[in-house]
């Protein structure tokens, strides 16, 4: 354990304290205590921030399950550090904001902050783990905590629906990603991402390399809401706004981006990687921005805009991955520019989108609605909110003097690079991006002007709006300050974190190109990109002004065939099929269930015996069989046969008991007093149990006398008997493993026990015993619960 490990685990360790703080410190908002965690983590991670010297990656490893190659390895390189700073930095601001947003009287704050801390820890773990399986575990934990946070107001049907949807989609992706990870493990023999990267050439030769790529991308795309998996994000907006600002814009949805960036050294350069990510990204970019204009709920608008911006970052990562392709080695600098744009825009997006979400939360909080049809004319009432919203939205639209302008220009450069260097018809990429950017411009204007200008409609608002309390405004102010700061001084982060991050994403491109440096500038001269931006402003303004004229376009889209419909229908269908399948075998008849169990046993054990050709009859070691042993055996067989033909339950129980007692006789003969004693007591108690159950059993029914019933059960019975007999006989003839009998004969020396059987039970094989008693206990609780439940249900009636 090092300080880094503790840093990752701090949020988890803090979780148990939260309910206590909530309960005993009711007068102080729980958020103030929780605020300490992200703040101290932010300070801790900021201490790694390279100010003057180059950043050296830090690796700290703790073995967890070494036999399975699972180590809790924390790998802090520049890319991880960037994410850790975003998670803790925005986390701090979001917690601060939530103190004013979440009422301490009405909300269950202890749940809220516990989930939030779970998420923070999971997210830190995801971006800092070097071990694929540990990363996977943290990754799924982010989905779980996101589920809990979306369903925070679980009384609402829509919250539950949204939570379930996000869970289904991201977890499906997660499983597929696990499959991809396992293929990588098989191909490379290691779970460490760094080691897999170092043997990327070998791994790419594996037959399943391309499937692994797609499996992993499916995980990344579902998490980062890429088309067509984006449908969960708008529904996730049911979460409280601080959560939307944190999880569904700044951090969790970036996990997919992180994964793609992190694994680019392994997959980058392959055409499949380039095409999949670029196409998915560009389609998402367009669709998200197109749909955002249609929304009247401001939060839904922001959700689609987040989808669109994530697509933008993805497409840049796709284009940039060509820096690793051998065919474009000469222009790797240009492709590296696309990666730089991706990383820079990722930072920008987290900042301005966090700010915008907080502003929408404030509008909602102060006016009681987020519907742009009811909002308007708030500029004079909420001037600070207006300014902050404008800064965030203009940055998103890509206007100067805000940081979004720089990254938007770099984005166009990146896509133009692809069309100039790869193939002429790829010019379609910047064209789609340009159209999408016009829509982006339009919805940014809707966000600012529909809410704050125009006629003021107090009659449509639930409360009288006024400026938000200063505490609520601090967080978005800090973010807005960064938006402006990064425009004027982008090089504050260029050399220290952007450049090493880019080098971590495409390390192979810089082997012979060590003097490549990132330099950002707000103005690049009069070039294609600037013309594109001017075009966006012109066309975007026109579209915004005449919005009511062309809005009908959306009505012509056949909404019946949307992805959401497909999802809902799929859900119903799965449920229907599931019910049908379950009903077909869960008949409620015990003899059916027993039949399944026995058939399975015969198929598995008997099948293995046959397939392995394992039947051996070895009588060489056997002792002479005495006459009385024959007699005992005969009695057993006779009572078994008698049991078949008796019509009375009582007699058949007695027959079973006879067999049991004879078995204990055998134990006595073979000098196993422990077993004999146990068998005798078990027989006694089970007879008592049988007597008890007698009252509840129906009379020997008609079905038992039917021929078909008899034949089927007879076949199963004979098959089980034969299988077990054959296995029993074969056991004698096989010595697959070294016998461990010497432990038992030494039991007095090793365990201080003269009774070998007992020392096996409680000492040598104590683990077996422990699990057995757990099983016994579980079975007992099960029976108890079943019976009590039946009682309860009967009483209800």
């Amino acid at each position: 354990m090092t300080l880094l490990h503790i840093a990752v685990l701090t949020p988890f360790l803090f979780v148990p304290l939260i309910p206590a703080l909530y309960k005993y410190m009711r007068r102080i908002h729980t958020g103030w205590f929780v605020l300490l965690v992200p703040l101290s983590l932010l300070i801790y991670f900021a201490s790694y921030y390279p100010v003057q010297h180059a950043f050296e990656p830090v690796i700290r490893s703790v073995p967890w399950i070494p036999s399975l190659d699972i180590h809790f390895t924390v790998y802090l390189d520049s890319l991880s550090l960037l994410f850790a700073l975003l998670i803790t930095g925005i986390g701090t601001l979001v917690v601060l904001y939530s103190i004013f947003y979440m009422s301490k009287e009405r909300e269950k704050l202890h749940f809220f902050y516990a989930y939030l801390m779970l998420f923070m820890g999971a997210m830190l773990g995801s971006v800092l783990s070097d071990n694929l399986l540990v990363l996977y575990a943290f990754w799924e934990l982010t989905s779980v905590s996101s589920f809990l946070l979306i369903a925070f107001w679980y009384q609402r049907k829509k919250s539950r629906y949204g939570a379930q949807k996000s869970m289904f989609i991201t977890m499906t992706g997660g499983f597929s990603m696990l499959l991809g990870f396992i293929i990588l493990y098989v191909a490379s023999g290691t779970l460490s991402i760094r080691e897999i990267i170092s043997m990327a050439d070998v791994v790419s030769q594996h037959h399943f390399f391309i499937p692994a790529m797609f499996f992993i991308l499916l995980g990344a795309f579902t998490k980062s809401a890429q088309f067509p998996f984006h449908i969960w994000l708008p529904d996730a907006m049911e979460a409280p706004t601080p959560v939307s600002a944190y999880l569904h814009s700044a951090t969790m949805v970036k996990a997919g981006v992180y994964l793609v960036a992190r694994l680019t050294p392994i997959f980058g350069g392959h055409m499949e990687w380039f095409w999949t990510i670029t196409i998915a990204g560009i389609v998402t970019l367009f669709w998200g921005s197109f749909m955002a204009v249609r929304q009247s709920d401001l939060k839904a608008l922001l959700a689609f805009s987040t989808i669109s911006q994530l697509g933008l970052i993805m497409s840049l990562l796709g284009v940039g991955s060509m820096a690793l392709n051998k065919g474009y080695i000469d222009s790797s600098d240009l492709f590296a520019g696309a990666i730089t744009a991706a990383v820079f825009h990722l930072i920008n997006h987290s900042i301005f989108k966090g700010c915008l979400f907080m502003m929408v939360g404030i509008l909602d909080h102060e006016t009681g609605t987020r519907d742009i049809r009811r909002l308007g004319g708030l500029i004079s009432l909420m001037p600070v909110s207006f300014t902050l919203t404008m800064i965030g939205a203009f940055s998103m639209a890509g206007l100067p003097p805000f940081s979004g302008f720089i990254s938007k220009e770099m984005f166009f450069t990146g896509l133009l690079t692809a069309s100039r260097n790869m193939s002429d018809w790829l010019v379609i990429l910047p064209i789609i991006a340009w159209i999408a950017s016009i829509f982006t411009f339009v919805y940014c204007m809707i966000l600012v002007f529909k809410a704050f200008t125009g006629p003021y409609k107090p009659e449509k608002l639930e409360r009288k709006p006024h400026e938000a309390p200063i505490g609520m405004l601090i967080s978005p102010m800090v973010l807005a300050a960064f938006v402006v700061l990064l425009f004027f001084f982008p090089n504050l982060i260029a050399g220290s974190i952007l450049e090493p991050s880019v080098k971590a994403i495409i390390p192979q491109a810089f082997v012979n190109n060590a003097d490549w440096h990132v330099h950002l500038a707000a103005f690049h001269g009069f070039n294609t990109e600037l013309v594109m931006t001017i075009g966006i402003v012109v066309f975007g303004t026109l579209l915004f002004i005449y919005l009511s004229k062309w809005r009908d376009v959306y009505d012509s889209v056949p909404w019946k065939f949307t992805l959401n419909q497909a999802y809902d229908r799929g859900l119903v269908g799965i449920e229907r099929i599931g019910t049908k399948v379950t009903r077909s075998y869960m008949t409620g008849a015990t003899n059916h269930y027993l039949a399944y169990l026995f058939i399975f046993l015969v198929a598995l054990a008997g099948g293995t015996l046959l397939a392995q050709n394992a039947f051996v009859l070895d009588t060489s070691g056997n002792a002479q069989i005495e006459l009385y042993e024959y007699m005992l055996g005969f009695i057993m067989i006779a009572s078994a046969i008698y049991m078949l033909f008796t019509k009375s339950r009582l007699i058949s129980i007695i027959a079973v008991s006879v067999i049991g007692y004879i078995v204990s006789m055998f134990f006595v003969i073979f000098r196993a007093p422990d077993l004999a004693l146990t068998q005798l007591v078990v027989e006694t108690i089970s007879t008592a149990l049988f007597l008890l159950c007698f009252y509840f059993l129906p009379k020997v029914g008609k079905s038992i006398t039917q021929l078909k019933f008899k034949v089927v059960n007879g076949i199963i019975a004979v098959a089980v008997g034969t299988t077990l007999t054959l296995i029993g006989l074969s056991a004698q003839g096989h010595r697959l493993f070294e016998p461990i009998a010497h432990y038992f004969t030494d039991s007095y020396k090793l365990a201080g026990a003269k009774n070998i059987v007992n020392s096996i039970l409680v000492d040598f094989r104590a683990f077996d015993t422990m699990l057995e008693i757990v099983v016994l206990f579980t079975a007992g609780t099960g029976i108890y619960t079943l019976i009590k439940l039946r009682h309860a249900r009967r009483n209800e009636k």
Binding site: I685, N755, N758, I773, L776
Partner: protein, 143 residues
């Protein structure tokens, strides 16, 4: 328990027998380390003594003289056994490592104390608890 007949012979015999069976079961529990016996068998024998009580007397009487929640007993047993296993972590040895030591005790003289016994005690509690939970809940079910 549905068995409502009042059998004087059975009840009189049970009063004596239960003590004998109980004593025997506890002997079996302690003797397990060196002689036939142990927690599992001991637990079963205790359970059979209790079943005898239930058969001879009605359910309510037994619950009044023996107010034990068998579910709780079983759960405690599981916890005791698992904790004995985890105790070995304190001595930096693998899970469920058992140890033993010879100690001179008053009256008993030189006695072997084995950590495995505590584990076995847990087994005993689980067996008694589970068996009796099953039997009592089934016998209660006819109400």
């Amino acid at each position: 328990m549905k068995l409502k007949f009042t059998d004087v012979f059975l009840q009189t015999a049970t009063k004596i027998l239960v003590y004998i069976i109980m004593t025997f079961s506890i002997y079996i529990l302690f003797a397990g380390h060196h002689n036939p016996g142990g927690g599992f068998i001991g637990g079963l024998i205790t359970a059979s003594a209790l079943v005898l009580l239930y058969i001879a007397f009605d359910f309510r009487t037994v619950r009044d003289i023996l107010p034990v929640d068998f579910k709780l007993l079983a759960a405690t047993g599981v916890i005791v056994s698992v904790l004995t296993g985890t105790a070995s972590f304190l001595f930096d040895v693998p899970f469920l490592s058992q140890t033993f030591r010879y100690v001179d005790l008053p009256l008993l003289g030189k006695t072997e104390l084995a950590s495995a016994f505590i584990f076995d005690l847990g087994v005993y509690m689980v067996v008694v608890g589970t068996t009796m939970t099953i039997i009592t809940s089934i016998s209660e079910d006819d109400k």
